[in-house]
């Protein structure tokens, strides 16, 4: 994974895992790699990896079972909310870009619908 070294790395790895949960690449209740495995797999510092899980847990997207490891939450509505949240972020980013080009939302909407 390529990181933007100017932004916190835990945030970027967390974003990647969130996306994988939202799109179902990681199923509800699925076991996530251990902290060390995550660090090795993503080439990140173990403390950064631990932070990723802490933040995911805080966001209610995963849960740590004592001595068992970390699992994707089984809470379906929470995952739906995540998908919506990510979609809203994508829209916000898109609008920011489109508005900077001086295109109105209506024009943009037409363009989107015309896209194959």
């Amino acid at each position: 994974m390529q990181y933007d070294p100017m932004r916190p790395i835990w945030l970027q790895v967390m974003g990647e895992i969130e996306t994988s949960i939202a799109v179902g690449a990681r199923q509800p209740g699925e076991k996530l790699p251990g902290g060390r495995e995550l660090a090795v797999a993503y080439g990140i510092n173990p403390n950064t990896a631990a932070r990723v899980y802490q933040e995911l847990e805080k966001a209610g997207l995963c849960e740590t079972r004592r001595g068992m490891g970390t699992y994707v939450t089984g809470d379906g509505p929470r995952i739906d909310a995540l998908r919506e949240e990510l979609a809203r972020q994508a829209v916000a980013l898109f609008l920011q870009k489109i508005e900077s080009l001086g295109i109105t939302r209506q024009e943009a909407a037409k363009m989107i619908l015309k896209e194959e």
């Binding site: 990181y3 070294p5 100017m6 790395i9 060390r36 403390n47």
Partner: protein
């Protein structure tokens, strides 16, 4: 865990390390950064007990570094240092003979990952293979402190990934890892703290994620801020 107090080393008329007060804690991977000749290697060698300070001291777990502390501190120098007659197997046996924390099984596993075999002669190794061997034999120790001087030097991209993975594998909560490198980008995600040294003096010892969060700058950016005008 490892701390230098007013540590100074003078070589002839050159002050290589200049009154450095630096405290390193376990559970962290430190990137020690600075241009060549800024004093990184000299600091490490003093912490390894290979070089005697001109003044000041280095403490390991509160006591001055000594013969005893060498049992727990694994140091890897930039330059190859094995005896010319040694094979890869001899290198492992040597470490097994002198370090109680060395595991030959772990060494064999690391060799396999690094695509090295026991029969290879050290004097015939390419610089990349030599760098991998040094990492393998150093990380096969279950030390408390690992000090790696320029672990990515002379190594191709793929081997760097291998080395990074090895380092991360063994950087557990009870270990302290200190790596120097002039390949700042290589260290960006691996380290969680950076120690900047300039002309023998400590500039700062900083938490990287906090720095990214609060200042929006990368380790490389900070490097440029600090050394920008001194590096030709």
């Amino acid at each position: 865990m490892l701390e230098s107090k007013e540590l100074t080393k003078v070589f002839g008329s050159k002050t290589a390390v200049d009154h450095v007060n630096l405290r390193l804690e376990k559970g962290h991977v430190y990137a020690m950064l600075g241009p060549n000749g800024s004093g990184k290697t000299t600091w490490m060698k003093m912490a390894a007990g290979l070089i005697k300070p001109t003044s000041g001291e280095v403490l390991f777990e509160g006591a001055p570094v000594s013969i005893e502390s060498r049992k727990y501190v694994a140091y890897m120098s930039t330059e190859p240092y094995f005896y010319a007659w040694m094979t890869v197997k001899d290198v492992g046996r040597y470490y097994a003979d002198f370090f109680e924390d060395f595991s030959y099984d772990r060494y064999l596993e690391l060799l396999r990952h690094m695509e090295l075999t026991e029969e290879m002669k050290t004097k015939n190794l390419s610089s990349g293979m030599m760098a991998k061997l040094k990492i393998a034999v150093t990380m096969a120790r279950d030390a408390k402190v690992y000090m790696l001087d320029e672990p990515f030097n002379g190594i191709d991209l793929l081997a760097r990934d291998e080395i990074r993975a090895t380092i991360l594998q063994y950087a557990t909560q009870d270990k302290l890892l200190l790596m120097s490198s002039h390949l700042v980008e290589e260290m960006e995600a691996v380290a969680d703290r950076a120690v900047f040294i300039k002309e023998g003096k400590l500039v700062e010892n900083i938490d990287l994620e906090t720095m990214r969060d609060e200042q929006g700058v990368s380790m490389a950016d900070r490097y440029r801020q600090i050394y920008g005008h001194t590096e030709g």
